[in-house]
C-alpha cells in the first residue's frame, strides 16, 4: 500500500479518527473540569494523551501504512527518551530533597490562588 505512488485511503477513516480525536480531547478537558485528582488524574490524562498521539501518528500521519523500515526510523530513536525522562526524574527528586534538607525549603508549600 505504501509506495512511491503515495498514501490513498478511504475518506471515512479520516472522518472517524477526526471525530474520535474530538471525543478524546473532550474527555481530557473533562478530567480538569471535574477536578479529578491524584493517581486517577495522571492515569486518565496520560492514557488520553497516548491515544490521541497514537491515532494522529498512525492514521493522519500514515505511519500505520508505512513500511517497517520507515516506521522504526520514526519511532525507534525517540523511544530512548523514556530513559532520559527516568534519569531526570530521579535527578530532579534528589535535587528537591537536597533543597529541603540543606536549604530549609518548605516541603509542603502551596501555590497562591489566582484572582481574576
Amino acid at each position: 500500500m505504501a509506495s512511491a505512488t503515495g498514501q490513498q485511503h478511504p475518506l471515512g477513516i479520516y472522518l472517524k479518527i477526526w471525530l474520535l480525536l474530538f471525543v478524546l480531547s473532550f474527555f481530557s478537558y473533562l478530567v480538569d473540569y471535574m477536578h479529578v485528582q491524584g493517581v486517577m488524574r495522571w492515569t486518565l490524562v496520560l492514557l488520553l494523551m497516548a491515544l490521541k498521539a497514537g491515532f494522529i501518528l498512525a492514521i493522519f500521519m500514515h505511519v500505520k501504512w508505512e513500511r517497517m523500515a520507515l516506521a522504526l526510523t520514526i519511532l525507534g530513536p525517540p523511544s530512548v527518551l523514556l530513559l532520559l525522562i527516568f534519569f531526570m526524574a530521579v535527578e530532579g527528586n534528589y535535587t528537591e530533597s537536597a533543597r529541603i534538607q540543606y536549604l530549609g525549603h518548605d516541603a509542603n508549600a502551596t501555590p497562591a490562588h489566582v484572582s481574576h
Binding site: 490513498q8 481530557s28 478537558y29 490524562v45 517497517m68 527518551l81 530532579g92 536549604l103
Partner: protein, 228 residues
Amino acid sequence: MSQSNAIETGSTAASGMKGFVADWSADKQIYQVPWGKAMMWIFLVSDTFIFSCFLVGYMTVRVSTAEAWPLATEVFALSIFGSDPIPLILIAIMTFVLITSSGTMALAVNYGYRGDKRKTVLLMCATAALGATFVGMQVFEWSKLIGYGVRPWGNPWGAPQFGSVFYMITGFHGLHVSAGVIYLLIIARRVARGHYDKKGYEIVEITGLYWHFVDLVWVFIFAFFYLL
C-alpha cells in the same frame, strides 16, 4: 533461506520485520518513499528531540523546585461574558481549533491524491486559517499572563520557573504553527497554479506531515503543561 528469497523477489514484496531486514540489506534505497517525504520525517524526528528537551527540562525544574507550582487550572481560567471563571476554557478551544485544522489537513491530502485540485487548495487554506486563529488566541493568552505579571523570572503565585517554561514551550510551539501557516499558504498557492499537476501531489502529504506534527506536539503540551 527466506532472506535470499526476499531479496530476489524485491524488498517491496516482504512486509513487517522481514521487509525491514530486506529494505536495509538490499544494497539500494532504504526508504520506499519520495525523498522529500523521507527528509520531512528525518526533520520531524529531530524536532521531536528539541521539544522533548523542553518538556524533559520542564519536568526537571518542576520536580526539583521546592516551591509550589502555580495551579494551571486557575491561571488559565477565563470568564466569558461576566460568568464565573471557567477553568482552561481558552486552552480547550485552542485544542479543538488545532484538531479541526488537523482534520481539514488530512482531507486536503486525501483530495490531493484524488486529483481534486480545487478542494485541496480550499482545505489547505482552511487549515492555514485555523492555524492563524490558534496563534491569535495564543497571543491573547500571552497578553493575559503578561497582564497578571507572569515573567520568565517570576510570577505572583509560586515557583518562578513557571513563567520561563510557559513562554519557552508555548512560544516555540507557536513559532512552529506560524511557520506552518506560511508553509501551507505557499504550497497551496503552488498547487493552485498547477505546479504539481505533472509531479503528483506528494507535496501535500509532506506539508500535512509537518502540520500533524505540530498538532501532535500540542497533545503533549496540553497534557503535561496544562492538565498535570
